[in-house]
């Protein structure tokens, strides 16, 4: 362990050659949180470590989610039967290098992690009826080769535009490379009008890959049911509100909406889904 790094180990875990799946709590479509919650629930993940928050998060009060006060946290769960470690964390607001080193310290020294899978959501201007894709960015040619047999798009070219900054996922991926941990960020495009809500299809897309790659044998019937329900709600919204239907029809025809129309669609869908359809 790096000296002075604020890690608390609650319980020793016995892992020989594990993989780490990491999701951020505040992701588009709540993808990182929902996907890591799902893995923990299905694979009986046991919390064993956490990163102490004081260096990384502002303490100007608390956030509220689903009526409950929240507190910034970064927790690790072990699914020992599957040689899997799940990390669910809020994104740090400061001391990123120290924070990401802490994540990798737990991964490397407590769990002997060999591969890192980072979940990330991308806001997309497509309709929810467009099949979700899985885009991957790897930290080595070796990892690209390893993942070449899966249904992933690993051909992205990207350079940070002027005034922009790399994502925390790129930062972590780069640091993992420095420790010879094979890593990949799994990006799922999420329809913009679901970005502040949830997107079960996106969850299924990323989880199906993780399931196949790590041979987890997860039964997704409950998630399939969620997808059906979400699709039904969105179909209901379209049938009740011609304006919503018109906007989504246009997106399905690859037509762009104006900024104002985008905003209106987001509001109408969010209102509809929050009111319980």
């Amino acid at each position: 362990m790096s000296q002075g790094y604020p890690i608390t180990i609650h319980k020793e875990v016995e892992l020989r050659q594990s993989s780490l799946v990491l999701g951020w709590s505040e992701d588009g479509g709540n993808l990182g949180r929902k996907a890591t919650d799902y893995l923990n629930r299905k694979l009986k993940g046991q919390e064993f470590a956490e990163i102490e928050p004081e260096d990384f998060f502002p303490f100007g009060g608390v956030g509220i989610r689903d009526n409950l006060a929240q507190f910034s946290e970064s927790k690790f769960y072990a699914c020992s039967e599957h040689e899997l470690v799940v990390c669910q964390s809020d994104s740090p607001g400061a001391e990123w290098y120290k924070f990401l080193n802490s994540v990798l310290d737990v991964a490397e020294h407590c769990c002997r992690v060999k591969e890192l899978y980072i979940i990330g959501a991308m806001v997309s201007l497509s309709a929810h009826t467009t099949p979700r894709r899985l885009l991957a960015v790897v930290n080595s040619a070796e990892m690209k080769e390893v993942l070449s047999r899966y249904e992933l798009a690993i051909d992205m070219d990207y350079q940070t535009p002027p005034g922009g900054r790399p994502t925390l996922n790129s930062f972590l991926l780069w640091m993992a490379k420095g420790r010879n941990i094979l890593g990949v960020t799994l990006w799922v495009p999420i329809p913009f009008y679901l970005a502040a809500m949830e997107d079960a299809q996106a969850q299924k897309k990323v989880l199906s890959f993780v399931n196949e790659r790590l041979d987890l044998k997860i039964d997704f019937s409950d998630l399939d049911q969620e997808i059906r329900e979400q699709n039904e709600k969105l179909a209901l919204a379209r049938s009740r509100f011609p304006q919503i239907d018109d906007y989504i029809n246009r997106l399905e025809s690859n037509l762009m909406l104006s900024e104002e129309e985008n905003g209106e669609l987001i509001k109408k869908i969010e209102d509809f889904l929050r009111e319980g359809a």
Binding site: P58, G93, A94, W96, Y97, K98, A136, V137, V138, N139, S140, A141, K144, A153, I154, D155, M156, D157, Y158, Q159, T160, R165, P166, T167, S170, F171, L173, W174, K177
Partner: protein
């Protein structure tokens, strides 16, 4: 972690000239221009990880090829019979979305820079930044000099186009220098280095614009070069100034006539003797400041 020196040049009581970005990038343009003109050689850096978030990623065919961080580099050159160490910080290490460095990281960074100064037995430190002043953009900016030791004041009084804080009307010798360009001066004092911060004046109505102000960088550089007893050709800086001047003029013409009329009075400000009465009245000064604030507030509201 910390300082990484690629080589250890043999330097004789060098002078350290350091700068980070700030208002109008006045200091960093001055220092970096001199470094380029003298073709100073890079010899070390401060590792960025503990200070900065990365600034750029390059992904090619799905593979993350590199992540680039803001640089903090040391250079050296012998010129005018003196050894000079340059330090150029590409960004100030900020916390919590602030514009300028402050707190623990800033103090740590300042100390690392001075560790190098100490290692090479630097005899003096210069920093450089901006001084927001009630001047017009067509007038030649002065340089406000702030030393960290009483013994430097007589020397500064001998600099051309340069004033001490006590020479600035209404300041009574007081003020503050935000960020690392100022902090380094203080930390240098604590560690026993004599140091001077040279700040080029920038018109008050330009301080919030995302523009550099090379006219002031030139004023700083003129003072710095005389102090270092070196002669350099500043034509490149003049070219840059002309380009920026055109953009400033475009901006200036957008300022409502009523406020511009007030600002035009600043063209006639001539700071010959600090003790002389100002060429604009206090009432006019107040009106100018109110007009500038009103204009920027309106711009902010209008997006």
């Amino acid at each position: 972690m910390g300082i990484r020196l690629y080589q250890e040049p043999q330097l004789e009581n060098p002078i350290l000239v350091a700068s980070w970005p700030g208002i109008g990038n006045i200091g960093i343009i001055a220092v970096d221009t001199l470094r380029r003109i003298l073709r100073a050689e890079e010899f070390g850096e401060i590792a960025p990880w503990d200070f900065f978030y990365p600034k750029q990623v390059l992904i090619r065919k799905g593979v993350l090829e590199y992540l680039e961080f803001p640089s903090s580099k040391f250079y050296f050159k012998r010129a005018g019979g003196k050894d000079i160490i340059f330090f150029i910080g590409e960004e100030q290490p900020t916390e919590g979305g602030r514009m300028y460095a402050e707190g623990r990281k800033a103090y740590h960074m300042a100390n690392l820079v001075l560790d190098v100064a100490e290692k090479f037995k630097c005899c003096r430190v210069y920093t450089s930044g901006a001084a927001v002043a009630l001047i017009h953009h067509t007038t030649k900016p002065r340089v406000w000099a702030v030393p960290n030791s009483e013994s430097l004041i007589p020397e500064i009084r001998g600099y051309r186009n340069t004033v001490l804080m006590s020479d600035i009307e209404g300041r009574g010798g007081h003020g503050n220098i935000t960020g690392l360009n100022g902090l380094l001066l203080g930390v240098a004092k604590k560690r026993g280095f004599e140091a001077i911060c040279l700040m080029g004046e920038i018109p008050v109505y330009l301080q919030g614009l995302p523009l550099s102000y090379p006219k002031a960088s030139k004023s700083v550089l003129e003072v710095l070069c005389r102090s270092l007893e070196i002669e350099v050709n500043l034509d490149k800086l003049d070219e840059l100034d002309q380009k920026v001047e055109r953009r400033i003029e475009e901006f200036y013409q957008q300022i409502p006539l009523e406020i511009r009329g007030q600002l035009d009075k600043l063209k006639h400000v001539a700071y010959a003797q600090p003790a002389e009465p100002g060429p604009i009245t206090e009432e006019e000064e107040k009106r100018i400041m109110e007009g500038v604030e009103k204009f920027f507030k309106k711009r902010g509201e209008g997006g």
